[in-house]
Amino acid sequence: MTTATSHLARLSPRASCASCWNWLPHVHYPIVGYCTLWAEATFDDYYCPGYVLLEIKTERLYWCSTCRIKLTREEAALHWSHGHRIFRSAYVEPDVKEEIYEG
């Protein structure tokens, strides 16, 4: 591996980026995302010692990558119970072109 992610071990099925508090999934393609701990992008099945299990406890906004919307804590818990993938936030590329309409 030659990328900057070389200090990360790959493929940990249980505790991977996909369930880590530090990780923000790509807004459109959540198989990749941005690690706020290492300040770099990773695949969702990476793992590192900095892993922190995401729990929906703190009163704050969460991101549902299934619905692609921001949610309150209570809403996030509800979506989670329906099997949706909840994260702390989403990663939006700085130059993302939002192909959305004007009105």
Partner: protein, 632 residues
């Protein structure tokens, strides 16, 4: 002969727009004619969006369903387009998405989930895996791309940051798809270079991603059988959307002032003018003023003011914005101010489905404004017409000192086509400004009574002059006197007759095909190409139809239309609205009733295959009304 259609779909904002742009460029580089349009959702970022293309060595006219290739970058796309792939086609999907169920896709419409459940339920549920099985049973070849594994390979092979690599999923999908269709890697790479060439950091990972995808397909599905090159290989050609081409027409047509308030699907027209606002006029530099107004009321009133002061002025909008412009249109008629409004129709009523197709504003355009307000209404059938119409509308507005509505629609706006430079010939372009009075004296009469109803126009500011929305005498002085009033109304009537007589009949309507055909299709606007394309197929199956295309809806070409339609045994109206708006106008002006109808009201483009099917149903089975419903 090559004639291939494809769809590439994925999450909105996930690079579907640029994927379509890359595919078009690759296919043009290989020498084909291409037409492609984008379908996107009106409000949910990440909801399903797709590009639908057709490439051929004949003229690329209309879109066609089913397609020979579906590239689905996510589960929603795979499920949405399960019905769209032909029995001989390829169905490219993300192999990791097989277990995903429509029920779990939050952005998917509930009705679609239900339809999927009905179709895929018997197979065990509405999952991507079952969609793939269905497609395979119907003869298509499913190609499961392990997108995550391929993405990791791209990551290993480039030093680019993963964030940049994530954005190459679209290119992996399109590269795999194009390779399967017989487009060689070098053309795919050319398409990528043309699209991303200016951004080396983006270009590199995309080229690697395309190679990785192509290698994967070759290793797992065998070596490609390359398609023969198209007839235009090596030629320098031009790509333009409908929005672009109207803007081009305005820029070369002498526009000096454009306003807009952002609204789908019109805004890109103004953006294009803005990008090209510096123009060379006889060797000296000039600039078009482009102004984003605070709303549509301001946008239209600004061009009223600018035009009265001598600018060649236009604005662009769609149905909701046009509603707000009604009062100003009325004033433009009263004050005899030349303005052009590009009206990009979309699916209404109200905000309706803002990003989708409709032809529901014809009568709105015709009857906009209060108090006897005739105006010129021109409907363009395709890009080439739209370019010349954009120039003509500016000319007509000034020659006749009247509002002109240029009727266009979302399908044209979002459709990209390939053109040759000679098709946009401006060598004979004339900028006509009509009767102008550049040196008005103190006795200047802005509304001088003339035989043709047109008074020489001096710009505001040369001499004291009154221009208002109120009835006036020849000087513009407000009057309620019955004689003055009658004189002015009759002047406006004479002007309207001058307009009707000055625009040649052949510009008002075009009869395509065999003049002696017993069946005549009538339509206006962007349905043109689907109808022309369908006529070829109908002729091949022994149904001889011609097509009367109405280009100018106001003043209405009643006499010529009557003469043509008298010869027809069966008249079929083809429209994307339910009030049969063109048929209504035709009957009002000529008394001719249109008994047969093809209707498209699902807010998707009209496909040539639908026109064929509907005409067959009418001609062979005696149906009176056929509602055609293709499109995802």
């Amino acid at each position: 002969m090559t004639d291939v259609s494809l769809i590439i779909g994925g999450p909105q904002g996930g690079g579907i727009e640029s994927a379509g742009q890359v595919v078009i460029r690759a296919l043009v580089a290989k020498g084909f004619n291409v037409i492609g349009t984008r379908e996107y959702h009106s409000n949910i970022m990440g909801a399903h969006s797709y590009f639908h293309l057709r490439f051929t060595d004949k003229p690329a006219r209309a879109l066609r369903l089913p397609v020979e290739l579906v590239v689905a970058l996510d589960a929603e796309s795979a499920l949405t387009h399960v019905w769209d792939v032909s029995g001989k086609g390829f169905f490219v999907y993300d192999a990791d998405s097989k277990d995903q169920d429509a029920g779990r896709i939050a952005s998917m419409e509930l009705s679609l989930k239900k339809r999927l459940k009905e179709t895929l339920g018997p197979k065990g549920g509405a999952t991507v895996g079952n969609a793939v099985r269905l497609v395979e049973e119907r003869g298509a070849t499913p190609i499961g791309l392990p997108l995550k594994a391929l993405l990791k390979k791209v990551s290993d092979e480039t030093a680019s940051p993963l964030a940049a690599i994530a954005k190459t999923i679209n290119v992996m999908g399109l590269a795999a798809g194009l390779y399967l269709l017989g487009i060689e890697y070098n053309y795919i790479a050319k398409g990528i270079e043309l699209q991303f060439g200016g951004r080396p950091k983006v270009l590199k990972p995309n080229l690697v991603a395309a190679k990785v995808a192509v290698d994967y397909v070759e290793a797992n599905y065998g070596k490609q059988r390359a398609l023969p090159d198209g007839p235009h290989k090596g030629r320098r050609r031009m790509l333009a959307s409908g929005n672009d081409i109207v803007a081009m027409g305005k820029v070369v047509g002498g526009l000096t002032f454009q306003t807009f308030y952002p609204i789908t699907p019109s805004s890109d027209e103004a953006f294009y003018v803005e990008e090209n606002m510096y123009v060379d006029v006889n060797g000296s530099k000039a600039s078009i003023v482009v102004l984003q107004a605070e709303d549509e009321l301001a946008a239209v009133n600004m061009i009223l003011g600018a035009a009265a002061a001598g600018a060649r002025a236009s604005t662009s909008t769609s149905g909701p914005g046009f509603s707000l412009m009604n009062e100003a249109i009325s004033m433009a008629v009263m004050a005899e101010i030349p303005i052009v409004i590009s009206l990009w129709m979309r699916a209404g009523p109200s905000t309706g489905i803002a990003t989708r197709q409709g032809q529901q504003d014809l009568l709105h355009a015709i009857f906009a404004g209060h108090g006897d307000t005739p105006k010129i209404v021109v409907a363009s059938g395709d890009h080439r017409e739209a370019f010349y119409d954009a120039i003509k509308t500016l000319n007509w507005a000034e020659e006749f000192q009247t509002p002109v509505i240029h009727l266009l629609d979302k399908y044209l706006a979002a459709t990209i086509t390939v053109l040759d430079e000679w098709e946009l010939d401006v060598s004979k372009l004339e900028i006509k400004r009509g009767k102008r009075e550049e040196a008005p004296g103190n006795d200047y009469k802005r509304y001088e009574i003339t035989e043709d109803g047109i008074s020489p126009m001096a710009p505001l500011g040369k001499v004291p002059m009154l221009v208002s929305s109120l009835e006036h005498d020849e000087y513009g002085m407000v009057t309620e006197d019955p004689v003055d009033r009658e004189e002015m109304v009759m002047k406006r009537l004479r002007k309207w007759r001058t307009i009707a007589n000055s625009i040649p009949e052949e510009e008002k309507l075009v009869l395509h095909g065999d003049p002696d055909a017993r069946v005549t299709l009538i339509s206006f606007g962007s349905t043109k190409q689907a109808i022309l394309s369908a006529m070829e197929d109908l002729a091949a199956s022994g149904i001889d139809v011609n097509f009367l295309q109405f280009r100018i809806l106001s003043p209405f070409p009643a006499e010529t239309a009557s003469k043509i339609l008298e010869r027809s045994e069966k008249i079929i109206g083809v429209e994307a609205n339910f009030q049969d708006q063109l048929s209504f106008l035709l009957r009002a002006h000529t008394g001719i009733y249109v008994p047969y109808r093809v209707r498209k009201v699902n807010a998707r483009p009209l496909y040539d295959s639908e026109v064929v099917h509907a005409v067959e149903k009418i001609v062979k089975e005696g149906a009176r009304e056929v509602v055609v419903s293709s499109g995802a």
